[in-house]
Symmetry: C2
Subunit: 305 residues, 2 copies
C-alpha cells in the first residue's frame, strides 16, 4: 500500500456494539473481506457499548467496505435494545472518510455522499451528511445531528422537517440512523480520573473544550465508566496543528491536580498520526521538535528511493 | 535498504572536529561516498569541538566507509591543536559498530577489530578495542581507555605497558588514538540548565549516573557551554530497556526543580530508536504503552506484505 498514493483514504466507522465479541468480529470481517482494504484497528468499549474500526484503502475498495460494514451492523444490531454511555443514533452510528497523504478532501466528500445514498436507498436507513460532506451548514457538527440520540430522532424524524434525512427514508427502524461525512484526521482520546464523581469529569471536560471557551479544536464529554471509582473525560481533537494532543493531556492533568484528583491510564481510540506521537515525545523530552529523520527506523525509510 | 536484513549495521563515529564546516562536511563525504552506505545524520557541537556521524549499510560498505572516514579525519585534524569540553583522545576518537534489526553482535565485533587493525596498520594510528569488541576486560569501558585523554596518552603510550594499543603502533601522532568497538544501540542526550554554575550540572550528573549509584545504564557528565548562563548534563544511555530515556529526563528535571533551576531545550545527539520515541510519547500521554501499530503511518507499513 503506497502511503503517497493520491486516493488513499482512511475510514473510521463507529458502530453501536462493544460487548458481543462475535458480532464485533463479524462486522469487522465484512469490511476486511473487500480486496484492497486493510483493517488496521478495532477498538471496543464495553461501557460505551461501541466499537471504532479503522480501515484504509483506495477509493473504490473503501466505498465497498464501508457499505458492507453498514449492512453487517444493520443485520446484527437492534438499536431499540441498545444502551451505552456514549451518544449514538444508529447501528452504524458515524461513517467518516478521511484523506491520507496527498488525497484531496473532495474525493472523501464525494465518497461520503455516494456511500451514504447507497446505505439510504438499499438498506432503508436514514442518512445525514456531516463535516465537510454536509449539505446544510447546521449539519456540519455531529452533535447537532445526533441531538436526542436514537430515541429522540425516532420520535421526530417523520414529523419535524428539520430532522429530515439527506438520504434514505424519513423513518427509523432497528438500525437507527447514520451520519456519513468527510473530515480531517481526528484523534479520539480518553483520560481517566480516580474518583467516583462523574461531576468532576464533566467539570474538567467543560473547562478544556472549545465550546465552553477552552482549547480550540477540542471536544470533550465527562462520562461514567463501569470501573469502580474511575470516571472519564472523553475527547475528540479535530485539529492537532491548532491544539496538539499533549497540550490537551497536560491541561486535563493540571485540572485534575488542581482538584486533588489522580489520573489512571489514558486510552487511545483508533490510531494516532505519527506527528502527534513525535510531538508528545518531544514535549516529554524537552526537544523542540523531534523530527522523523531523527528516529532511526524512520530515517532509514525516508532514505529509501 | 532492507531494515530486516541480517547484516545491516549502524556506525556512529565520533570525530574531534565541531567548528570548521568544510572539514566536517569533507569527513562525512568520505564515508557517504561509498556505495551502499547512507549517511543519516551529522551532529556537530562547537563547545565539544566534536561531530557525531551516523551512517548505515551492510557489512562491507560500512567497513570501507569507516576506514575512509578515519583516513579523512587523520588528514584534516591535528590533535595537538584541539581543545574542547568533551573528553577525547583522537581525530577519529570513537568508532562504534551497532547491529540493527536481526544482525548478530558477532558481526559487529569482527568488523570493529578488522577495521581497527586496518586503521592501525595503514594509517599508523594506535587503536584500542572497546565494548563487546574488547580483547581485555579492563578495556570494555570507553572512559577507562580514554583516561588522561590525548595529552595523557601521548605521554604514556610508549612506556606504560597497560596503555599499549590493541592494534597499530605504540606511539601517538597528530591523529591521536582511536577506540573501535561494538555495542548495542545507545542514546546520546544532553539536557541544559539555566544557570552559570557548572557545579550544579556536575552534581546532577553525579546523582543520576550509574557509576555514582544513580540510574542503571546511564553515563553522565556535567559540562560548561559557550551559551551564557547555560550548563549541560551530557548523557549516554546504554540500555533503554533497563532505563528508558524519558525516565532519565524526568530524573534530571526533578533534580533541577529541587534546586530551583529551570531547563532550556534538550539536545539529541545522533538518532533515537523508534521504541524510545514511542515510550516517551506514551509517558507524556499516560498510555501504557503506545505501540507502533497504533500509529497510522507505522500500522500502514507493517501491513504491507
Amino acid at each position: 500500500m503506497d502511503a503517497g498514493a493520491s486516493d488513499l483514504i482512511e475510514c473510521v466507522p463507529n458502530v453501536s456494539e462493544g460487548r458481543r465479541p462475535e458480532v464485533i468480529a463479524a462486522i469487522g470481517a465484512a469490511a476486511a473481506g473487500v480486496e484492497g482494504v486493510r483493517l488496521l484497528d478495532v477498538h471496543s468499549d464495553h461501557d460505551h457499548h461501541r466499537s471504532v474500526y479503522t480501515f484504509v484503502g483506495s477509493r473504490e475498495p473503501v466505498a465497498e467496505a464501508a457499505y458492507r460494514l453498514a449492512e453487517a451492523a444493520a443485520t446484527h444490531i437492534d438499536m431499540a435494545a441498545h444502551t451505552g454511555v456514549h451518544p449514538r443514533m444508529g447501528a452504524l452510528d458515524v461513517l467518516p472518510f478521511i484523506p491520507l497523504g496527498a488525497t484531496p478532501m473532495d474525493l472523501c466528500i464525494e465518497l461520503a455522499r455516494r456511500v451514504g445514498r447507497r446505505i439510504g436507498e438499499d438498506l432503508g436507513i436514514p442518512v445525514y451528511f456531516y463535516g465537510e460532506a454536509a449539505l446544510r451548514s447546521e449539519r456540519r457538527l455531529l452533535a447537532d445531528i445526533r441531538r436526542g440520540e436514537y430515541e429522540g430522532l425516532r420520535a421526530k424524524i417523520g414529523t419535524d422537517a428539520s430532522r429530515a434525512p439527506d438520504a434514505g427514508p424519513a423513518r427509523i427502524g432497528r438500525a437507527g440512523a447514520t451520519a456519513a461525512g468527510a473530515r480531517r484526521p481526528l484523534v479520539a482520546f480518553n483520560m481517566h480520573l480516580r474518583t467516583p464523581n462523574v461531576g468532576i469529569a464533566r467539570a474538567i471536560a467543560t473547562s478544556v473544550r472549545a465550546s465552553s471557551g477552552g482549547l480550540p479544536a477540542v471536544q470533550a464529554l465527562g462520562l461514567p465508566t463501569s470501573r469502580p471509582n474511575i470516571v472519564q473525560v472523553s475527547m475528540n481533537l479535530t485539529d492537532l496543528d491548532t491544539t496538539p494532543l499533549h497540550v490537551v493531556v497536560a491541561a486535563v492533568r493540571a485540572e485534575a491536580e488542581r482538584r486533588g484528583i489522580g489520573l489512571a491510564e489514558s486510552e487511545l481510540v483508533g490510531l494516532l498520526p505519527l506527528s502527534a506521537a513525535l510531538d508528545a515525545s518531544a514535549a516529554m523530552l524537552g526537544l523542540h521538535p523531534l523530527q522523523a529523520r531523527q528516529v532511526i527506523e524512520l530515517a532509514l525509510e525516508s532514505e529509501v528511493t
